[in-house]
Amino acid sequence: MNKDMHCDLLVIGAGLAGMSAAVRAAQKGLDTVVAGNPSSLVFASGLMDYLGVYPAGSSTCLDSPLEGRDALVRDFPGHAYAAAGHENILECFAFIRNILDQSGLAYKTAEKEGNNLRVITAMGTIKPSFMVPETMMEGCRALARGSRDTTLAVAGIRGLQGFSASQVAEGVSGLFSETVPIRTELPGITTVVPPQILAEHMEDPVVLDAFAGQVAPRARHAGLLGIPAVCGIDNSQSLVKGLSDRLGIPVFEIPCSPPSIPGLRLKKAFERSLGRSGVRLLSNTRMQEPVFDGERFTLTGRLDPDAIRVHARGVVLATGRFFGHGLHARRERIVETVFRLDVTQPLGRHLWHDKEFLALAGHRINRAGIDTDAVFRPLDARGRPVYPHLYVAGGLLAHNDWLRLKSGAGVSLVSAMTAVDHFTASAGGGHGH
């Protein structure tokens, strides 16, 4: 069975960039289709970074993204931030914060506008970020105002892999007057449980009550409690607040390694938003075989045994890097998987990686990606846009070592929204079919 779908804008990829493009397009009144796997958001930490580190490998966190931004743009003139102004990026964060707020997921930025937050991680490290879920905010506040006279309690849960209360307590012990690791055991859970299942379990009042009951005696003298970010899925804010009220101290969530519950919450919030705004989501569908007839793109999504043909006037390509299958490393070179766009990359395979495997500054392959113009349209060999309404957003962009620079969300948001805004302005809104 073949099915045809017509729309103004097709967004390929359902990660942060794809979802942001979709909600932006819906807000602009475009008839939008998203094709991709929203579950890729479960690999996102749930934190939204702007620029936390520069240069790559530097051991200090930037207090404000502005501190490194100029250097970044100078060193990499093709970077997404070169085309977008600071105010523009702040506006993108505000937009997505507003969208998520409407979907019941609150995000917070630093009290001093434009500054980074410092977040305690499950590794016991401090990570700079720009915008974090409300449930993580108390930890950031404590670090921001100075916490040397505060006692931090960290509660671990037996059965949750990748989170050790002792490790966190040990890692941040220098930042607090005292750190107290607490071990808890939830009823019915005796061994390793996947975090999502644990998070669902935590929504059960009986379970949460047992958790609070075990934490309370040991956290009595603490001024702050950190818990792993598995405190419910859909109602995390009220659960954390309830916990805080009961224990009488501020409680915050600590982001864990993937699968990440804050990422899952993000996914669900985006899905709710898409549902509200009438964006059609082709879940877990990979779009292929692009055809451009001079006016309209047609791509085919395979859903065994069916195929769906999507006809769109514009396409935002937000397929991510290697893990998202936006890029594919062949033996001799890296290719872009959908449109076969030119990939800016080291000239030979021997140049992909530094000699040191764990090089702090990263590898050149980390900066491989698609070069674009100022509105994120990919360029051909002569430096002209390949198609008037084909855009690239997010991790797929060149010069974007977002992992090391802590800049993933900022690049994704600004590229996605600039692209959608340009499409709206140049191709016009409304239905083109």
């Binding site: 690999f43 005796t190 061994t191 996947p194």
Partner: protein
């Protein structure tokens, strides 16, 4: 004399057949986990109203199918009349002092009864040939089944047909006329005889070879035929036993048609030939009565005599396999038409889902044991699908307590060592599923030392058709990055908080390690709800749920193979 001797022989054979039938039914009847009293209670709790109404009036059949009830009624009523008044007239005429086969109303009634039986049998035959509601071809019922179902009907039709032909030839036969004149009158010559002949030729349809134009008296003088005198002679000698045959509405017209032919056959006495044929068919019918479809005449009253078990009593009697009831089945197929799980048959193509097929298999199973493990396993599967809703027993025209049979069938198969499907599915590990592998040892990595090693990768599970072969294609699962999203999304894994089993991502990893056998031994494969959440969230687009399902299908097919082999070994 010859007839009497033959009749006695046939009766003895028939009685012996009945004894054999009943004793074998009693022998094959079984009681499972119950004492003899239970059997007695089940067999001898009588339902007098059931016997009366269902045997004589066939009320159950009337409820099930009006047309079929009509056909049965025609045959049954006609046959009973013929048996009582026609076949056994030597005894029964004591009750009707005026009885003569050749006078009214007996001649008419005989024709009527014969016509009723013949019509009913024709309806049966037409229905057999044209019946399409349960597609017999799909059930792979060959010619044998159809022939077996029609033999009795054809024999009855032959009996009735030969009777009518014998009667019509008898009417038209000149030889028979001469015999009767010789025996019952003192008429010996012309011209009176000629007058009578002429009268009989006109009114009684006797076909004379020579044209009766004139009578010649003793002096050689010819005089014209005097029908008036013939009528007077008829009144004097014949009328007491022979009224005009026109009321024999089947035989008389036939006589007018066939008379000249019979006359030509002459000395061969076709009337006698058909008379003997008629008697022969009656004997054949009688002799094979215990082994033919006709047996349901006895079995149905037996079956309906049992009081049907109320649902609250069924537990007490479920262990009783009542073969006498079972033999009342006539394969009419009403049960399968109303069967609640008929759609199951349409999907699974397993005829052993259908009640009327199950009965046949069950009869064989009770007699022979496991003669074909494949069929018995299908019966087990089909009987497991049965919901015991009782619709089959409600409609059964024979009044068989079918629900009791289905529970008894389970007990019988248990005893014969054919494992049930659902009990093992509940246990849900490959070891328990098959009774062959050993899941504990599998997890400890000793799989290669296991007896009856389960190889689901090559060749095995060939029955699992329509599978896409994902587990044999490395590219189907090799991209798994063990991100655990599938296990996180899995409702079965969420239920298993004690983590007693593998999650989907671990099953994928087993495939990557080349341990498909171990993978199919994991409970995850058997517990999978096929909700497809795992497949939906997989960032690598791996068809996780499809793979789990395929592992289960192959495991199931292989388990069935192993069970079949084991049953073969046990029975052989």
């Amino acid at each position: 004399m010859v007839i009497k001797t033959a009749l006695i022989i046939v009766l003895v054979l028939c009685a012996a057949g009945l004894v054999f039938r009943f004793s074998s039914l009693a022998r094959l009847g079984k009681v499972f986990n119950r004492d003899r009293q239970t059997l007695a209670a089940a067999v001898f709790r009588l339902d007098y109203a059931g016997i009366l109404f269902n045997t004589l009036l066939q009320v159950r059949l009337f409820r099930a199918g009006k047309f079929r009830w009509l056909a049965h009624g025609l045959v049954f009523t006609g046959f009973i009349y013929l048996l009582a008044v026609h076949a056994l007239d030597e005894w029964t005429q004591n009750f009707f002092a005026w009885y003569q086969p050749g006078i009214e109303p007996f001649r008419f009634l005989r024709n009527l009864a014969g016509a009723m039986v013949g019509l009913g049998c024709l309806i049966f035959l037409v229905r057999r040939v044209s019946r399409s509601r349960i597609n017999l071809e799909r059930l792979r019922r060959g010619l044998r089944f159809r022939v077996r179902g029609t033999v009795s009907v054809v024999v009855i039709l032959c009996l009735i047909g030969s009777g009518f032909v014998a009667e019509c030839l008898n009417i038209a036969s000149e030889y028979r006329f001469d015999e009767m004149v010789e025996e019952y009158s003192d008429l010996s010559g012309e011209p009176e005889l000629v007058h009578l002949q002429a009268y009989w030729a006109r009114d009684y349809h006797v076909a004379f070879r020579e044209a009766l134009t004139a009578a010649t008296d003793g002096e050689g003088e010819t005089q014209p035929i005097d029908l008036e005198e013939g009528r007077e002679l008829n009144e004097a000698y014949c009328l007491e036993c022979h009224t005009r045959p026109d009321t024999a509405f089947v035989a008389a017209p036939l006589a007018r048609l066939a008379g000249p032919l019979g006359a030509r056959a002459g000395e061969l006495r076709p009337d006698r030939v058909f008379y003997w044929l008629h008697v022969g068919f009656a004997f054949v019918l009688l002799m094979f009565f215990p082994f033919s479809r006709m047996f349901h005449l006895v079995a149905i009253p037996l079956a309906t005599a049992r009081r049907r078990m109320s649902p609250d009593k069924i537990d007490d009697t479920m262990g009783v396999l009542d073969l006498a009831g079972l033999s009342a089945c006539t394969h009419c197929g009403f049960c399968s038409q109303v069967c609640s799980v008929y759609p199951d048959y349409q999907v699974s193509d397993n005829p052993q889902v259908l009640p009327h097929v199950k009965i046949e298999t069950l009869k064989r199973l009770a007699g022979k044991g496991i003669w074909d493990p494949g069929v018995v396993m299908r019966l087990r599967s089909g009987n497991d699908d049965c919901t015991r809703c009782g619709l089959c027993a409600d409609i059964c025209p024979s009044g068989i307590d079918l629900v009791r049979l289905w529970t008894a069938a389970d007990a019988l198969m248990d005893r014969l060592g054919c494992p049930g499907n659902y009990t093992t599915a509940m246990d849900a590990s490959f070891r328990q599923w098959t009774g062959h592998g050993h899941a504990g040892a599998v997890v400890q990595g000793n799989i290669r030392n296991l007896p009856g090693q389960i190889d689901i990768r090559e060749g095995a599970g060939a029955e699992a058709e329509g599978l896409s072969g994902l587990i044999n294609q490395a590219e189907a699962f090799e991209h798994c990055v063990q991100c655990t999203l599938c296990t996180n999304a899995c409702p079965v894994a969420a239920y298993d908080l004690g983590q007693n089993d593998f999650g989907p991502h671990q099953v994928m990893n087993l495939l990557r390690l080349g341990e498909a056998q171990m993978a199919s031994g994991s409970k995850m494969v058997w517990h999978c709800l096929t909700c497809y959440m795992c497949q939906e969230v997989c960032p690598q687009s791996i068809r996780v749920a499809d793979i789990l399902l395929e592992l289960r299908c192959r495991g199931q097919a292989r388990a069935a193979e192993l069970t079949r082999e084991q049953l073969k070994g046990d029975s052989g």
